[in-house]
Symmetry: C2
Subunit: 384 residues, 2 copies
């Protein structure tokens, strides 16, 4: 950057932002709050409050048990709204349970599909629940956990995040899927830090299994259900560790033998929370209507602006400079990061600390303004 | 019964009912509806609507990610409210995930604790998800599934419902726990059709593992989270199939190694839905305040009245006549049960069909009136 960036530059960008109006769809309880943690918990869509009111009063309270006629296929209906944003077709995604459980189910299934292989590969720097779930499955199946993806010839399953939760580095999904597949392994992609901030072309990449989170960029609410993607071709034969009644093909006949659906309903387990699903539906719906390409454009512009501000203030970032290689946040490294995040919060700037030295500035395109990015990074600069 | 029971008898009982006022705590959307399916989905507490509004507007929207300071221990806090109703202490129950997942986790853990045994025993008449989950674990662990509990000498784990979902027969929890334990097996009790309608003395029975549902008699909402009970003595060493980050002792340090909590938090998996937990909390809270002994007294009186009406109308029931041996519903058998349930529903009487020939009249003491039982059973009588 040649000229110094100022707050007016941020405000200019906000005025020119084609997605600016989407912020009005969310509750702004404290206009002075600089919220840069929408990648941990997205803000509250106004529609979600109305929707929950309606589910409680018009569905649960009014129709009671009879509401299951309209609730039963919700995991798939909400999944179908999400599917285009991750490059897959209708009937390939279900929204249910949690990222942890969905990872467990799909990684265990993938291991069962590669019984002649003995290794699960995961990055030692990946998100904890991914690593822990892999560790548990490896212990139960007496498999080996390998840190990293250099050698794949004896690998059954690769577990990888599309966007690194610390640096925001974006993996090469087509390239790594192809390399893994040609080595005879299956890959389970984790889209938790990617879904809703950039388009992921799972289908075009030949990816067959993925999970992700809906409470970050998809604004589904605290602990909203996660999603599972299983490519159509793999659905009918997907092995499962947990045999639950929501996967049963004749669910309400309650027959003696477990005969799971041959479609995406096969990934379902127990009774899903309808309140949580309704909230996820509203959050996902906003991103679907706003358009994932427009959202990704703004994410690139916000993070570009943030990185330029970091340079200007001599802050050190590990987030890739190449916009095509990064997700929706900017990671700033400082040895006092933990204390700095607390001091920022005391000044009404909410960011996130990540071990060991990262201040994470989350840019959630439907709610984050360029002026938020300016104010947040300037506040950090002022503390140093 | 000597004298014929009339609708006036039902109204007399309603007037004398010490729990009658609790129905006012629930939304009555259609006063003409005869709802006898609160054992499938409980009605909507008015407080739940207020609570959800508050969680959405005052917690999520206002404090955003910072709300996790108050949300993080919700599974345990809600569990502690439930604990006295099932005869266990604080710190022994967590409300999380679904009955299916909680069954999977505890049955698999119990199998790991009995590695020298090769059989899982479950009744062929138990609820489907219990049987299916057992089948999946047995397949993965190469164990045998045995139908019934006569022979236990080679059994690792017994999986049993406290109340039979078809007949409402109540198991002998202390006796069967003692018999199973003395045979060297562990029992996982399923309280789904018992919790919130009668007191269960798990602690006094020496039971160490149990799960249950909160969307039936506990009025927690559609698909509300289930619960897990693990006796204190077993918590620190409980093996787990699914290693999730909410069980991790240093959760937010995100360290390399899975080191689960030594307390009840060990059963947690992924991020719980806070909306679903808040609704469960309100439902459970109503039962806790109304008092499980008073609730059980009314359940016995409602089912006693229902059985007397069945006799009067020459309807055949398999529900035990001994009030000490039954839960909160009355099962009527008829070869046309499925059609009869549909015809009752057409007349605004909601009951439940259970394969192959059962019309199930659920009596949920906080919302069901004696006049509902009268109207429901009389309507069935009128159809025959």
């Amino acid at each position: 950057m040649s000229a110094m960036l100022t707050r007016d530059d941020a405000l200019d960008r906000d005025r020119a932002d084609p997605l600016a109006r989407w912020r009005d769809e969310f509750v702004i309880a404290d206009p002075s709050l600089v919220y840069l943690d929408g990648n941990s918990l997205g803000m509250t869509p106004k529609r979600t409050i109305q929707r929950l009111q309606s589910v409680l009063a018009d569905e649960w309270a009014t129709d009671l048990i009879r509401s299951w006629d309209r609730w039963l296929d919700m995991p798939q209906r909400v999944g179908d709204r999400l599917a285009p944003m991750i490059g897959v077709g209708p009937g390939e995604v279900s929204v249910h349970d949690s990222t942890t459980i969905n990872l467990y189910q799909l990684i265990d299934a993938a291991c069962a599909l590669r019984p002649d292989r003995s290794v699960i590969a995961v990055s030692g720097g990946d998100f904890p629940t991914d690593r822990y779930v892999v560790g548990g499955i490896a212990a139960a199946r007496r498999m080996e956990v390998r840190d990293g993806f250099d050698r794949l010839d004896d690998v059954a399953v690769v577990v990888r995040s599309v966007v690194d939760y610390r640096t925001a580095e974006l993996a090469d999904v087509p390239g790594e899927t192809a390399r893994t597949t040609s080595a005879g392994a299956l890959v389970v992609w984790d889209l938790s830090h990617a879904a809703g901030v950039l388009p992921v072309d799972l289908g075009g990449s030949g990816a067959q299994l993925a999970v992700g989170c809906t409470y970050k960029y998809l604004n589904g609410g605290p602990g909203s259900p996660a999603f599972s993607y299983v490519a159509s071709a793999l659905q009918a034969s997907l092995p499962q560790p947990i045999w639950g009644w929501f996967a049963q093909s004749d669910q309400f006949e309650m027959g003696p033998t477990f005969r799971p659906h041959a479609d995406i309903r096969r990934v379902l387990l127990g009774t899903p929370s309808i309140l949580a699903l309704a909230a996820a539906d509203e959050g996902i719906g906003l991103s679907a209507v706003a358009g994932i390409e427009a959202i990704a454009d703004k994410a690139r512009a916000l993070t570009e602006f943030g990185l330029a501000l970091c340079d200007q203030l001599h802050l050190r970032s590990s987030t890739p400079r190449d916009a095509a290689r990064r997700g929706g946040h900017v990671a700033v490294h400082h040895r006092d990061a933990k204390q700095l995040v607390a001091r920022l919060a005391a000044g009404n700037v909410v960011t996130d600390y990540r071990d060991p030295d990262i201040v994470r500035f989350g840019c959630s395109p439907l709610t984050t303004r360029f002026s938020d990015v300016f104010d947040g990074i300037a506040a950090l600069g002022a503390l140093l």
